[in-house]
């Protein structure tokens, strides 16, 4: 399907990760425009008008977040969240590996807008190549005078550093990320204070997702109206969806928000594999509830997906077809949260451990009817009681799977085995 790319321009332009190529295709023009035609406050307004919402998962309006920074003269920081580790989500990785200059350009413009003097990209530890790509782009940007002191003679200065984590999903949570960036264990912080008031090194800080910031140069170039011309009033613009699972063409797709889920799966990702039917879809990364096939016409915007009973989240869309055992899939996802719980708070630490064990047992065919009730009760005891949202995130798929596919769980109990003969469980709990 031929389409225009604003975020994944690497799909159109070969080698756009190189400065010369990026420049030759209009790169850093948006930066020049921003620095010459806009005051910082005007840029914040522009982003507010565009309606851009955070692509890290929560969908918080970006311009509004920038507006929270107190005007008290303290040094400000912009931190870009490239910790992408939510199962099913791999959009940021493509950007940093293949189109890093657009992110860097976005960071410089966003720093100018938020008056940040220092910016960081916190890269997931596993993204070694991504970090190298970013580092190269950053060095090239310094060499061109796009970073550092008095950028392009504007009087504006900002420094940008690439920082590598070391393997911990929780560091994607913004306050844990800041802890990690300050050289500590990645335990989430008590809020308030929020990062805007006391973030990195105690200073006012904006934390934004990679994709969020990569939108900024395009918005400067094409304008807020262009952005709001796509999607809905409340969810305007484009978004990258990472499609994976049982589809013909798993890949990242950059599409306007409010594109129907069915279109994403069928038109873009090539539909489910021949001879199979969709069983359920996880539309927004492993933390969100399942949608059943009857919801396939849901437009992919924040409000509609919420209305349909799930969340748009990070846009990691995992498609499960009729060959997938829901018990196995659920067990696998819950185990992820057990591995990644930071261990600070009781319900998250112990609850994910317990749920994993119970699910594992059910999957092995050793579960009881009572286990199913216990599972739901454990979920209830975790829900809304954890220190940070990770605990709740572990429940999205589980609770909806138990609601929609309880019969499959019961079949495992009754038949003392997976009725589908699926083998997902083999590595769970090793």
């Amino acid at each position: 399907m031929s389409q225009k790319y604003y975020l994944l321009r690497n799909r159109e332009v070969a080698d756009i990760d190189r400065m010369d190529v990026y420049l030759a295709h209009g790169g850093y023009q948006a930066l020049k425009t921003a620095l010459t035609d806009y005051k910082p406050e005007e840029l914040v307004d522009l982003v507010k008008k565009s309606g851009l919402r955070g692509r890290g998962g929560a969908g918080f309006p970006t311009g509004m977040k920038w507006g929270f920074l107190p005007n008290d003269g303290r040094k400000r920081y912009l931190v870009v969240n490239s910790d992408e580790a939510e199962p099913g989500t791999y959009k940021d990785r493509e950007i940093i590996e293949k189109n890093p200059h657009q992110l860097v350009e976005g960071i410089i413009i966003s720093s100018y807008a938020t008056k940040a003097r220092e910016a960081y990209i916190y890269c997931r530890g596993e993204f070694l190549f991504g970090a190298e790509q970013l580092q190269r782009a950053v060095s090239e940007a310094y060499a061109e005078g796009f970073l550092g002191e008095n950028i392009l003679g504007s009087g504006f200065s900002v420094d940008l550093k690439v920082y590598r984590g070391a393997g911990a999903y929780i560091c994607g949570e913004e306050s844990a990320l800041l802890e990690s960036l300050e050289g500590r264990r990645g335990n989430p912080r008590l809020k308030p204070p929020f990062p805007a008031i006391a973030g990195l090194y105690g200073g006012p800080t904006v934390v934004n997702n990679v994709e969020t910031i990569t939108n900024v140069p395009a918005i400067v170039t094409y304008g807020a109206e262009w952005y709001t011309s796509m999607g809905t009033a409340k969810s305007p613009g484009v978004k990258i969806f990472s499609v994976s699972g049982r589809v013909s063409r798993p890949d990242n797709y950059e599409i306007p928000l409010a594109t129907p889920l069915r279109s994403l799966i069928d038109d873009y990702a090539g539909g489910v594999l021949p001879g199979h039917k969709i069983k359920a879809v996880i539309p927004g990364g492993s933390s969100v509830p399942l949608l059943l096939p009857d919801k396939l016409d849901t437009p992919l915007d924040y409000e509609s997906v919420l209305q349909a009973g799930s969340m748009l989240g990070s846009g990691g869309c995992i498609v499960l077809d009729d060959s997938v055992c829901m018990v196995g899939a659920t067990a696998r996802l819950v185990k992820f949260y057990r591995e990644e719980s930071c261990g600070k708070c009781t319900p998250c630490r112990e609850g994910t451990y317990w749920m994993t064990d119970v699910l594992d047992r059910i999957e092995r065919g050793q579960g009881t009817e009572e286990d199913l009730d216990t599972l739901m009760d454990i979920a209830d005891n975790i829900g809304g009681k954890c220190f940070c949202p990770l605990g709740d995130a572990s429940l999205g798929v589980l609770v909806s799977a138990m609601k929609f596919f309880r019969d499959e769980f019961e079949a495992h109990v009754r038949e003392h085995a997976c009725p589908m003969g699926a083998k997902l469980y083999d590595t769970v709990n090793h």
Partner: protein
């Protein structure tokens, strides 16, 4: 302590407003050279940062990519996330275990390979995926672990994390 560590620590510290931010970069750097972080290394790094050893140990042990035990020359991380699992990563893991003669979490006797599980590696479109010393190997055939082991031998892939 290797003499260059001091130099590295100084360079990293200069880059950040808070000196402790330089801790992870230094641990990465040292691990890239040494392969893992021994008790002595932790002690030395604490000295370089004028931090209690407990602090450094506590931080290092939080992150799964810092190895506090000796690992093989090649650390093989098999993604076991849902999308990879749906594409046969469990089978791939079994085959690798069989082929290397070790279980997940172990290191081959010759010190060549360490086999580990990884949670979703953000490459779900290429499932199943594996990282060898953090370099991606994508779209693997679960039944052909040799392909991975052969290709990961090529010299340009020898770079350490």
């Amino acid at each position: 302590m290797k003499p260059e560590w001091n130099q590295w620590a100084r360079e990293f510290k200069e880059q950040y407003p808070g000196a402790n931010s330089a801790l992870m970069p230094l641990l990465h750097r040292i691990q890239a050279e040494e392969g893992w972080l021994s008790d002595e290394t932790i002690h030395d790094v604490a000295t370089l940062f004028d931090l209690p050893e407990s602090y450094v140990e506590s931080v290092a042990s939080f992150y799964s990519l810092f190895f506090r035990n000796q690992v093989g020359k090649k650390v093989v991380h098999v993604c076991v996330g849902l999308s990879c699992a749906l594409a046969g990563s469990d089978r791939l893991m079994e085959n690798l275990e069989h082929r290397l003669g070790i279980k997940e979490g172990q290191t081959t006797a010759d010190g060549e390979y360490t086999l580990l599980e990884a949670e979703c590696l953000a490459a779900c479109n290429q499932a199943p995926v594996v990282q060898v010393n953090l370099r991606y190997f994508e779209g693997l055939d679960p039944e052909r672990p040799d392909v991975l082991l052969e290709s990961s031998k090529s010299p340009e892939e020898e770079v350490k994390p």
